[in-house]
Amino acid sequence: MKTYNDLAGDGGSNFVGQVTSQLEKLRTRLDKIKHKIALMSGKGGVGKSSLTANIAGCLADRGYKVGILDLDLNGPSIGKLLSVPNDVKLNVDNDGVHAGEGANGIKIMSMDMLLPTADTPVMWTHKSGETASWVSMLENTAIRELIADTYWGELDYLLLDMPPGSDRIDNIKELIPELAGVIEITIPSSISQHIVAKSITKNNTVGVPIIGLIENMGGYACPSCNAEHPLFSGQDVEELCRQKEVDYLGKIPFDPRISEKTGNGKLFYSEHKDSPAAKAIDVSADKILNFTKSNS
């Protein structure tokens, strides 16, 4: 009697072929993007998305073609930060779903752009309890589709705004093996550092390169005199970097304007380049660029 391996294909559905085709599509899409970088934080609320948007703005202002993929599927915020409203008309053609274009010409794809209204949550079914067991698999497939089916055109940098936590990085590593690396983000509080240390350990364990750690909200810059004052107590973040042997990419002082779009619909970075926070973003961007240049 024939065995499994004696039978070619699976009799018609060609599941393996379909999955292979999905991966080829993904590959073709990713080949048009030079550098892919994930921005992660252990904890939520450390300003990761605002920082991602402003780092992207900084890179775009320097002439790079930049896109952001909002992988915080259940709490997408990049659209709002880049002034791409939820009701933006989707352009769908044979190339896929075209990325939106936000502030500073940054390309964006986010779950928010796929939902019918601004307050629609990401729900995989109306029936409660119907998909609870499947959410992780659904989200894995959703992430693959968001990467593979979005038409980005050619990009120098694609920044992946990861959800809080470090569980999705396994998924990203599998889909984007050439990922340039991860930027970890923490605030100075001891709790945030405690959690980001786990994220660093995990990335080291699974072999994801770490570009470095950014200390966000590292003090409050007075808008009147630019003098800095501490916001949180906690261990020195640079000390954590030394312990974990990762590069310190800089300290971004807290500025309440950083998560707000300006009256011109521009990013904080572009409108307030002389502010301490924008200057600090510049320093971090330099280090990110140096990393990608020396590792490509």
Binding site: F15, Q22, V97
Partner: protein, 146 residues
């Protein structure tokens, strides 16, 4: 998963029509031995059906793989922009789908929708129907276990 006709020692082939999921998400998939013609049905439970639907592939998809971007997302989100769910029934010019029939076929899970369409179209053509309506879909269901 592959199916072997033991007497013929031949791989059985997925039948690309005659498939319909029930409301309870149980699925009947038909396989046929091209050598002796023997048919079997693989009956899946709700969890097995769910598994296939979540990985973004289609049963019978070897020849009918969806080209729609965000296929799983658009078809699985409880609410998504309409443009993401633009699968429309049958492109055969001679067949007209009533709105009710269109709505019913759209309720079929996306990963077997193409095969479900084929089932209905093939039944309509065999019976000389030019309009696919709810009555005809009821007939198909009675015939193939929809």
């Amino acid at each position: 998963m592959k199916f072997l006709c033991i007497p013929c020692d031949t791989q059985m082939e997925t039948q690309t029509d005659g498939i319909m999921p029930s409301d309870s998400k149980n699925l009947a998939l038909k396989f046929k031995c091209k050598k002796c013609g023997h048919s079997i049905a693989m009956l899946t439970n709700k969890f097995e059906t769910e598994f296939v639907s979540k990985i973004g592939v289609e049963i019978g998809g070897g020849s009918e793989e969806s080209k729609s971007p965000f296929n799983m997302v658009g078809n699985t989100l409880s609410q998504a922009k309409e443009i993401l769910n633009k699968d429309q029934p049958a492109e055969k010019k001679e067949l007209v789908w009533t709105d009710e029939a269109k709505e019913r076929i759209q309720r079929v899970p996306f990963f077997v929708r193409n095969m479900a369409k084929k089932t209905v179209i093939s039944y309509a053509q065999e019976h000389g129907a030019t309009v696919i309506d709810a009555k005809l879909m009821d007939e198909v269901r009675d015939k193939v276990g929809m």
